[in-house]
């Protein structure tokens, strides 16, 4: 009992306790953030098609802003976009979307340059819109008599464009289509030089400066119509990308895997800790040491997870691998320390002479651990600074943080426990 008090009421244990408290609070309040390959989601890496354009950082930043805008428009505010570089002067865009979205939806948003041209005959009326209306009054989907779902929304164009519209339509003749009268030439919308929407202009609009024209289109199902409408709205609203873009990498995972996988990892972790405990027990034949090692390891895991939730780091597969690596090295250094501290207990006087004090033994132990820790942190640092290895960043960060936590927080506490116990 007295020993227990001795263990608990010490500076090192208090530091550990405080950190544990902070980590657990953060875990409870914020929870853990899971990465794409566990929670599901999509990651796309995009680069410019033309190599000369690609060399420019500003272009990529601008494209980034536009894609960001398109994603926000579709209510994907959780999506992350980044401009990263590889090699000299080569940049690429990374788009990560946490939820699972149909392939076409996203790829079109990101791939399409969105170069708009609205033409009547061969005269360009407008190339950009001032505003896109999304409110139900000015946009919507209706079903036509022939079963096709028709979507429509209004856009606002500049007064100059409206003036041009007025001038061009004056020269057009009205023609009779069914019951309605339309002008002989439609207003055609081109996006990336492809005809996406061809609008008949009703005859009474002739010669008027219209600033709020309607864009319409049709699809076979309601879903398709809705998707198409939203896509058009997003593209028109965000404007045109400064360069043509292609997909370099495209990765997708469904969220179905997640739950089963978390359970798997929990299993693996539990068995790993139990196995480590068993090996330690076999070696030292001492329950106290085994519990001390398991306790320290658990603390380390909680602290890493707490840190991850504190900085909102998304845990992906690689990060979990990193945690396991940290457990491995953590237990290793605990064993090194235990052995060096327990030397006192062995009867060999020879060793007593060479290593007279406990302090110097602990110093040696910490030297070993410091070297290993520094090596690991620097090796991980090399991964972190390279943007090409961004897929491994989670791994590197958890490992480096784990090693640092081990060296500065848990290991001093462990030494204290073992000192008191031994």
């Amino acid at each position: 009992m007295k020993k227990l008090f001795e263990i608990i009421f010490s500076t090192r244990m208090c530091i550990l306790g405080f950190c544990l408290f902070a980590a657990i609070t953060s875990l409870i309040l914020k929870g853990l953030y899971w990465g794409r390959d566990i929670e599901g989601g999509r990651q796309i890496k995009l680069s410019a098609v033309d190599p000369v354009e690609q060399t420019q950082f500003e272009l990529n930043m601008e494209a980034n802003k536009i894609i960001r805008k398109r994603l926000d428009f579709l209510g994907m505010a959780d999506a992350k976009t980044n401009v990263r570089n590889y090699g000299i002067g080569c940049y690429y865009l990374e788009v990560s979307i946490p939820v699972n979205i149909p392939e076409g939806q996203v790829t079109n948003l990101t791939e399409m340059q969105g170069q708009l041209e609205a033409k009547i005959k061969d005269t360009v009326i407008f190339t950009e819109v001032v505003r896109v209306f999304t409110d139900p009054e000015k946009s919507g989907i209706g079903r036509r008599d022939d079963g096709i779902f028709e979507w429509h929304f209004a856009v606002e164009i500049s007064p100059e464009a409206a003036e041009r519209f007025k001038r061009v339509t004056l020269d057009l003749k009205p023609i009779q289509v069914g019951r309605e009268t339309y002008l002989e030439e439609p207003l055609v919308l081109y996006i990336d030089k492809k005809n996406v929407s061809s609008l008949l202009i009703s005859a009474d609009m002739r010669g008027k400066a219209i600033t709020i024209p309607r864009v319409t289109g049709g699809a076979n199902t309601y879903e398709e119509a809705k998707n198409e409408m939203e896509r058009m709205q997003a593209i028109l609203d965000s404007g045109k990308l400064p360069m043509r873009i292609q997909i370099m990498e495209n990765k997708q995972t469904t969220p179905r895997l997640g739950a089963a996988f978390k359970l798997n990892i929990l299993f693996a972790g539990t068995f790993a800790i139990l196995g480590v405990g068993a090996v330690v027990l076999l070696r030292y034949r001492n329950l106290k040491i085994m519990f001390a090692i398991i306790f320290t390891t658990l603390c380390e895991i909680i602290l890493i997870l707490g840190f991850a939730s504190l900085i909102k780091w998304q845990l992906d597969l690689a990060a979990l691998a990193g945690i396991i690596a940290v457990i491995g090295t953590g237990v290793d250094s605990q064993i090194i320390m235990t052995d060096l501290i327990l030397v006192r207990k062995t009867k060999e006087t020879e060793e007593e002479e060479t290593m007279p004090t406990l302090v110097s033994r602990i110093k040696t132990a910490f030297l070993v651990i410091m070297a290993a820790a520094l090596t690991t942190v620097l090796a991980m640092g090399t991964i972190i600074i390279h943007q090409e290895l961004v897929d491994l960043r989670g791994f590197a960060i958890t490992t480096a943080v784990g090693v640092l936590i081990g060296y500065f927080i848990t290991r001093p506490a462990y030494v204290h426990i073992i000192e008191t116990l031994a």
């Binding site: 680069s47 190599p51 392939e103 090295t329 090194i336 052995d339 090596t375 690991t376 090399t382």
Partner: protein, 376 residues
């Protein structure tokens, strides 16, 4: 003493003979996994796809928890950046929504066709796939990744050397600091190796140092970059020789041989070198240094008794360390279903076994030899 060197030679032969297989993230590939409710003859599917697509298709079955997942992958031909002028981008239409490149779409469509024919179910859709990846649309990005992976390992090795030399070099502090900063500095220079090779290339071809013309042959630059790597690694070795740092050199040698032998075994077992396994190799570097430092401090810093006795006294600690790590990794291997985590676990398990031999035979042998000669 001779065993570790035979191991290294065998490993090198294995790497040359079998060749290292690159993982999908280091070479282009289209890959996707889907869940199959009924039993499917994968060999038939493979033959069908190979006939239809006219390229190699690899199919793996992963069974877990009563469910069968089928992973279909094809290697993608790397595409150089930049299409010819006027050529349309690969995919930019509203008409074709599955715009991830024609090869990928073809792979998915053909598989779907086969599955529908097999299951006789017209509603069956491949869109239930669990994961899908299409990588390597751009050759340069993939190549950049390969290079950076090599670079990271080289940098890590230089850092390791610097730290070890700082701790164990048997001379006064001034020399230690000099050698430490030399090695760390080299690692930092290595970080800028691309910039350096770019400048050299530019100088040779355009006779000027500063040019922002990026439209250069990447391949030549890559070759130059390899030379820069090799140059700085050799310089690092020279530092060890110059400072007569036998003990530190033994540690670094053990780490390097760990990497080489593990790579050799990976080549033999056809485990691919992907970003995940490179991460595993970097962890292995940490493990290796851990056990080597343990040995060296025990033998070199605590001078009492015979050298051999000191070595043998350190072995139980090392064995415990190795066993705990192996148990943890075995748990990871057996209880997770992720291919990535399993690859990492396998590579580390191999690496730890290799490390045991390298530390306690090679490193201990060199230490024993050196310390006994030092006494005389």
């Amino acid at each position: 003493m001779i065993i570790p060197f035979i191991m290294i030679i065998l490993a090198l032969i294995s790497i040359v003979y079998f060749g290292l297989e690159k993982g999908i993230d280091l070479k282009g590939a289209d890959i996707f996994t889907f869940e199959a409710e009924k039993h499917i003859d994968t060999s038939k599917l493979e033959i069908y796809l190979e006939k239809e697509l006219k390229k190699d298709v690899e199919i793996r079955m992963l069974t877990m928890g009563g469910k069968t997942e089928i992973e279909v992958s094809t290697i993608r031909k790397l595409r150089r950046r930049g299409l010819a002028r006027g050529q349309e981008p690969i995919c930019d239409s509203l008409i074709q929504p599955e715009a991830v490149g024609p090869e990928y779409i073809q792979l998915i469509n053909k598989t779907q066709e086969y599955m529908r024919a097999e299951l006789g179910d017209s509603t069956w859709s491949i869109h239930d796939h669990i994961t899908s990846q299409s990588l390597g649309n751009e050759a340069e990005f993939t190549r950049a990744k390969q290079f950076v992976a090599i670079k990271a390992v080289c940098m890590a090795l230089l850092f390791v050397g610097g730290i070890i030399i700082f701790i164990f070099l048997e001379v006064e502090t001034r020399k230690r600091i000099i050698s430490f900063s030399c090695l760390t500095g080299m690692a930092i220079i290595l970080y800028f190796s691309e910039r350096i090779s770019f400048t050299i290339y530019n100088f040779i071809h355009n006779n000027k140092f500063l040019s922002e013309n990026f439209d250069l042959s990447r391949i030549t630059r890559d070759k130059l970059q390899l030379f820069v790597f090799a140059f700085f690694l050799t310089l690092g070795l020279i530092i060890f020789v110059f400072f007569e740092a036998v003990i530190s050199f033994a540690v670094v040698l053990a780490a390097i041989s760990d990497l080489i032998v593990t790579l050799g075994i990976m080549a033999y077992l056809k485990i691919s070198v992907s970003l995940a396994t490179i991460a595993a190799l970097l962890i292995l570097l940490g493990y290796s240094v851990d056990s080597d430092i343990l040995l060296t401090t025990r033998v070199y810093k605590m001078r009492s008794g015979r050298v051999v006795d000191r070595i043998f006294k350190a072995i139980p600690t090392a064995l415990t360390m190795d066993f705990t790590s192996m148990v943890a990794l075995l748990a990871l291997l057996l209880f997770t279903t992720s291919v990535i985590l399993q690859d990492i676990a396998i590579v580390l398990l191999i690496g730890i076994c290799v490390d045991f031999v390298n530390t306690w035979i090679q490193n201990a042998g060199i230490l024993k030899f050196y310390l006994e000669r030092l006494k005389e």
